[in-house]
């Protein structure tokens, strides 16, 4: 189902054109334009209620914007359902973890792999030939590429709901990765984590983005400015549905309007050094 339509590093992977999204009289997004290039970590920052999560929901298809185009790999995808977009290689994690608590860590991750399973019910039930081979290959992928990367060997067979929050976030990331996405939307992956977990998670994001095996383009929504400025190639600043600016971390830090709207407020400038 994944399209072979390739985009080279540095080309535009996803484009938002003049996106408008309102709920009743509240205009959550008022004409957003954004270009995400392949290979980048593109962050979206903004105060609470700025419309960041709405924007993510529009990209992965949970919301349909009233106006504007969402173009992925040169193709307009406005009409596609979330699972169809997942099939194109768009994967995400959620601000508040959305794992399946009663299932084991391994099962949660396997679920993310579902879209790549080709065998049908009939061949699956006798587990022979191609199906067996396919399963071995998927198992190898999950073990070698995901569990090893995220260092969750010790919790493999534990029910996810029993795990601490930080580990649940990791499992959710693992599930998103099992899809082998080209674009990964991370909605506040660091919220609620302690310092050590933040450091681990930041390292995983970098690994996913830079490691030859992965090279995943990341769209990162995050409040932790220290991490955002360190990791991102570009930062998009959103305030009450409007774009303030889109530039490199350095440009953003120097922009007086951004500082006033966001960075200047000391309590929101939740940097950790």
């Amino acid at each position: 189902m994944v399209e072979s339509n390739t985009v080279n590093a540095g080309d535009v992977l996803l484009e938002l054109e003049d996106i408008h999204m309102s709920f009743g009289k509240v205009e959550a997004l008022a004409g957003i334009n954004l270009q995400i290039r392949k290979g980048e970590i593109h962050s979206v920052i903004g105060p609470n209620g700025a419309g960041k999560t709405v924007m993510m929901n529009c990209i992965n298809g949970l919301y349909r914007p009233q106006q504007g185009n969402i173009v992925y790999k040169g193709r307009r995808i406005n009409h596609l359902r979330p699972y169809e977009r997942a099939g194109l290689g768009i994967s995400r994690t959620f601000q508040k973890v959305e794992v399946f608590g009663g299932m084991t860590v391994l099962d949660n991750i396997r679920l993310g792999r579902h879209i790549h399973l080709k065998s049908g019910i009939a061949s699956g039930s006798i587990y022979a030939g191609k199906t067996a081979k396919e399963e071995v290959a998927h198992r190898q992928f999950i073990e070698e590429e995901i569990i090893d990367l995220l260092e969750i060997e010790s919790i493999r067979s534990r029910p996810t709901g029993m795990l601490p929050y930080g580990l649940q976030k990791r499992v959710e990331l693992g599930r998103a990765l099992a899809l082998e996405p080209e674009l990964l939307i991370l909605d506040e992956p660091l919220a609620g984590l302690n310092l050590e977990e933040v450091e681990d998670m930041a390292r995983f994001i970098l690994d996913i983005n830079e490691e030859k095996r992965w090279k995943v383009t990341c769209l990162l929504v995050e409040h932790d400015m220290g991490v955002v400025m360190d990791l991102s190639d570009r930062v998009f600043v959103l305030n009450f549905g409007n774009m303030i600016m889109d530039g490199t971390p350095k440009e953003v830090q120097q922009n007086p309007e951004v500082v006033k709207a966001y960075l200047g407020e000391e309590d929101l400038y939740a940097t950790r050094k």
Binding site: Q140, E143, E144, D148, E151, E153, S154, R203, E210, E211
Partner: protein
């Protein structure tokens, strides 16, 4: 007291000429492709490595080291988790005629710098990014260090320093060298003799900087031979290597014994999965410091508290029988048929399952050593039907010198010397040892060598005596022994291990030398006490807060009263306080093998000690703690001081 040599289980004659590489080569060619030398759990599957594979890897790493310029007697350091590559690196170093040095995986940068610099290390094997980062940060301060070798590529993509080289590249160098000089490896192996230095082993000093003990091939090999003479292992046995290689006990099991017997060494997937992996393997022999057994006891006690009524009754019934039978065996009395029947019943209903969960179902001999273990823990395992034995040893004898014999176990002793070993009590009750395994001396420290090695006798610095049955009893470190108010000597270790039998207490530190009464500083077990607090609906946010809650003080006081039972009045804990943090090796409070550094904590927590011997009921703390990566945090708190009610 010397023990006559018995029939040895291994048929290997340890001559003066034999070295570890020679033995390794002989065993590896003998077992070849048919036998599994080691197993590692990787990506969720146990993957075997045959002796042939072991030999191939060692060969190319050794030749690679030669290719990098390793010369005879050069020091090669290793740091990282237990994994095949670590053992290969060590064996390759020895084969290439270098000297191996192991560092604890969690060593802080300062410790790494000290050991690398003091040992004159030229090559360092690190596992992955973490170890490489440590090495890079000290590289400029250690002029002798030339190359850092890594094997786990994770996170290494942006490192391009030219002193870094991957294990793969080293092996490639080795392959090329083999083409040029096809017999070099065998020639190197044939060169050595048994009295050459094999390992430079840094002791975890409880008082001062670590000292480097020089151990010869002969030291290591005789050690293995003598231990295996007491409790033979079989070549089909399994052993799980999960304790740091920088600890002499692990070297003794993996190298000294493993090589002679040829049993399979199993490496866990990650340190966190060790307990689970041990259960999967079910090893036949186990050697661990008391803290591992303490941890097992604690998990059983906690699970018991959580269990349903019927399960608890079954457990109580089986432990009652277990203790009864164990006590009969301790007293060397015959076990009546009726009790044997009950023991069988207990075994099939509870003990078997319990042992399986702890990974002890196939254990023939389990050893504990490296620190004192309380009699309560000891009896606990025997009541479970585990043949747990105390050992007494130190780095300077390449492992152990004294061990319990099966069927002759007294839980307050450490048993009889192993073959080839003499033990006597010197002046002031100091334990002295003489054996072929006694080390060659300390590296670059003739003063310490002179003090420790006299006329071939090793002066241990431990106080002890030999009891009527010829068992050695280790009292405590000589300098740690207290003098009580009535002038009697007292071993703080004894009380500390008693306190630690409570599942709620993780660490204990007893004070009272030349004082009016004994007091204790305790560290609660965060997980166990935290769970207890959850059940009692107590709210807390941190270890610090939890440790200072009055309810927790009540709980701890109850544990102390239990430990105080049956002790003479002057040896009872009178006052105590809960420390606001756990004792940690990173703060220099414990050694890397988790022994309390008494002199250090006494100085560091001087205000607490003072408060325990004053009329105050609390003490104010204002301090900084440091993390493994060098960061620091500031702590301000008040610690309660409580007097134990009778």
């Amino acid at each position: 007291m010397q023990h006559e040599n018995r029939n040895f289980s291994s048929d290997i004659e340890i001559s003066k000429d034999l070295t570890i590489p020679k033995l390794f080569y002989r065993q590896a060619t003998r077992f070849g492709q048919d036998r599994v030398a080691m197993r590692e759990k990787e990506f969720g599957i146990w993957r075997p490595i045959t002796w042939h594979g072991y030999l191939e890897n060692v060969k190319y790493i050794a030749l690679g080291l030669i290719g990098l310029g390793l010369e005879e007697g050069d020091k090669v350091s290793m740091i990282g988790d237990n994994r095949p590559e670590g053992l290969w690196a060590e064996m390759a170093t020895l084969c290439a005629r270098g000297v191996g040095v192991w560092l604890f995986q969690d060593c802080l940068i300062d410790e790494v710098r000290y050991i690398i610099d003091h040992s004159d290390t030229r090559f360092l094997f690190g596992e992955g990014q973490e170890e490489v980062d440590k090495a890079i940060s000290i590289f400029n301060e250690c002029p002798k260090l030339q190359k850092i070798i890594w094997d786990d590529p994770k996170g290494m993509r942006n490192y391009d320093q030219d002193f870094l080289i991957s294990l793969k590249e080293v092996k490639e160098l080795g392959r090329e060298l083999e083409k040029e000089k096809p017999h070099l490896f065998e020639e190197l192996i044939n060169k050595g003799t048994g009295d050459e230095v094999a390992l430079l082993f840094y002791t975890s000093g409880t008082t001062a900087l670590p000292k480097g003990a020089l151990l010869s091939h002969n030291n290591m090999l005789t050690m293995g031979k003598h231990l295996m003479a007491v409790d033979p292992c079989l070549d089909k046995d399994d052993y799980v290597s999960y304790l740091p290689f920088a600890w002499i006990g692990e070297q003794m099991m993996s190298i000294s014994c493993g090589l002679q017997i040829g049993y399979t060494i199993n490496f866990p997937e990650e340190p966190e999965t060790a307990q689970e992996n041990i259960r999967e393997i079910g090893p036949h022999v186990m050697f661990a410091p008391p803290r591992m057994y303490e941890q097992m006891t604690r998990s059983v006690q906690v699970k018991y508290l959580d269990a349903t009524w019927i399960k608890r009754k079954f457990y109580e019934f089986s432990t009652y029988i277990g203790y009864k039978v164990a006590n009969l065996k301790f007293d060397k009395k015959p076990v009546p048929v009726f009790w044997r029947l009950l023991e069988w019943l207990a075994s099939i209903t509870v003990q078997k399952k319990l042992k399986d969960h702890l990974g002890l179902s196939r254990v023939r001999n389990a050893y504990t050593g490296g620190a004192a273990m309380g009699p309560d823990h000891f009896r606990f395992f025997h009541a479970l039907g585990v043949n747990l034995k105390q050992i007494y040893g130190q780095t300077e004898v390449a492992g152990i010198s004294v061990v319990h014999r099966s069927g002759d176990i007294k839980f307050d002793t450490v048993g009889h010397p192993i073959p080839g070993t003499e033990v006597k009590i010197g002046e002031g009750g100091e334990i002295l040892t003489r054996s072929p395994s006694v080390f060659l001396g300390y590296y670059k420290n003739p003063e310490a060598t002179e003090k420790t090695l006299q006329d071939g006798w090793l002066y241990s610095g431990d106080k002890g005596f030999i009891d009527d049955d010829g068992h050695l009893v280790v009292f405590d470190r000589t300098k740690d022994v207290f003098t009580l108010k009535d002038g009697k000597p007292f071993a703080p270790q004894y009380l500390e291990t008693r306190l630690k039998f409570s599942p709620y207490i993780r660490d204990s530190w007893v004070i009272g030398d030349k004082k009016d009464y004994i007091s204790a500083v305790l560290c609660i077990d965060y997980a166990v006490v935290g769970k207890w607090a959850d059940e009692k609906k107590l709210n807390y946010t941190s270890y610090q807060e939890l440790s200072q809650m009055p309810e927790i003080y009540d709980l701890v006081e109850k544990q102390i009263r239990q430990a105080n039972k049956d002790l003479p009045d002057l040896a009872k804990v009178v006052k105590f306080t809960n420390l606001y943090k756990e004792l940690d090796a990173d703060d220099d409070e414990l050694t890397r093998t988790r022994k309390l550094r008494r002199a250090f904590v006494e100085k560091r927590y001087e205000e607490i000690v003072d408060a325990l011997y004053s009329d105050n009921d609390s003490v104010h703390i204002d301090t900084t703690i440091k993390y493994e990566d060098g960061r620091e945090a500031h702590i301000k708190t008040d610690m309660q001081i409580r007097t134990v009610k009778e």
